[in-house]
């Protein structure tokens, strides 16, 4: 008896995404074929097209899915309090979100070059929306006199690079726990904007 397309797609769709993420991160988007992704999932190459239009759509869906999940999670966290409290909370949020998503972070930097112009523009817009949330915190801190930041846009881009860079070197079981690293980065970030720490 043929399986229903609906339930089949519901299980296999995420498997396709996971396989594509793993293979793209390991070998690079350009070097991975739809046939390899199908083999990794355990379906026929032709069957893959039930779940995705093409390889470009797979890459775009991975990057867009990551950005919308990130923005939704930040908005759900609803950071409140003084600019310093919000900056501290943003720092912890960003680290906690990205630390377990090393492959996705890697892909988000490395494979932007392989997005079509239209898809790139959409990802860039989502990134900007996320960055703007940090930039708002910095502007508020400057306005309240708590922060000293010559250019909030530059500081935003710098701090996001600082924080996301953790995924390049952090390994579970290393010298410091994730909580210790988080505390270290909170000090760095809050001091970087000239805040006086207690």
């Amino acid at each position: 008896m043929a399986r229903k397309q609906g339930s089949h797609a519901g299980i296999t769709g995420p498997k396709v995404q996971d396989a594509a993420l793993r293979l793209f991160a390991q070998h690079g988007y350009a070097a991975v074929s739809m046939r390899q992704i199908a083999a990794e999932v355990g379906v026929q190459a032709g069957a893959l097209y039930n779940y995705t239009a093409d390889k470009q759509s797979l890459l775009f869906d991975l990057l867009r899915g990551n950005m919308t999940e990130l923005i939704d999670a930040l908005d759900a966290a609803a950071l409140t309090g003084t600019p310093l409290a919000r900056l501290d909370a943003f720092t912890r949020f960003h680290i906690r979100f990205h630390l377990p998503r090393r492959d996705t972070v890697f892909l988000s930097y490395m494979e932007l070059r392989n997005l079509t112009d239209e898809n790139f523009a959409q990802i860039a817009e989502l990134r900007r929306a996320y960055e703007d949330r940090l930039e708002d915190i910095l502007h508020d801190g400057v306005a309240s006199g708590d922060f000293t930041v010559p250019d909030c846009r530059v500081a935003t881009l710098g701090l996001i690079a600082l924080l996301t860079g953790i995924t390049n070197w952090y390994r579970p079981g290393g010298r410091l726990t994730a909580a210790e690293i988080e505390a270290n980065y909170c000090t760095l970030v809050c001091q970087s904007v000239g805040a006086r720490l207690a």
Copy 2:
């Protein structure tokens, strides 16, 4: 008359490196063939092996060459003065070195996965040697009471990610000049370690 191997290699060697760098950065190491590199240089595929043993050697030579050039340039700069003066000078040095080397920075992060274990270990050792020079400045600043840094190793990795991240977004002719961006980053970096700025 056959051209002399020596002079030929002297001109073509750097061309091979340039072509490999450009193609690896654009398409990814795994997706680029020696044949494509030869075509980009304008030599026969077989002739490429006069200049390099294989594709792995090309990648390794690019990454190692970049790291030794970086360390030599920093040591030649011979930063002196207070820890704060040295940190400010290091920040400017790092930005000036990396800003014109966008493709190399990209490759240095993205293609580490494609180095053999032995080659990776050598690049990691060179990176560590460079990072140690910044870490020494931070330790000196903590010892002199000028800096407040809970963990100098974590701060080092964070600050290098912060600074190198500029290559992800900087474009000549943008809103800010390279000098203005440099000044912004100096403020961020020096404040991040808790230094009191004038």
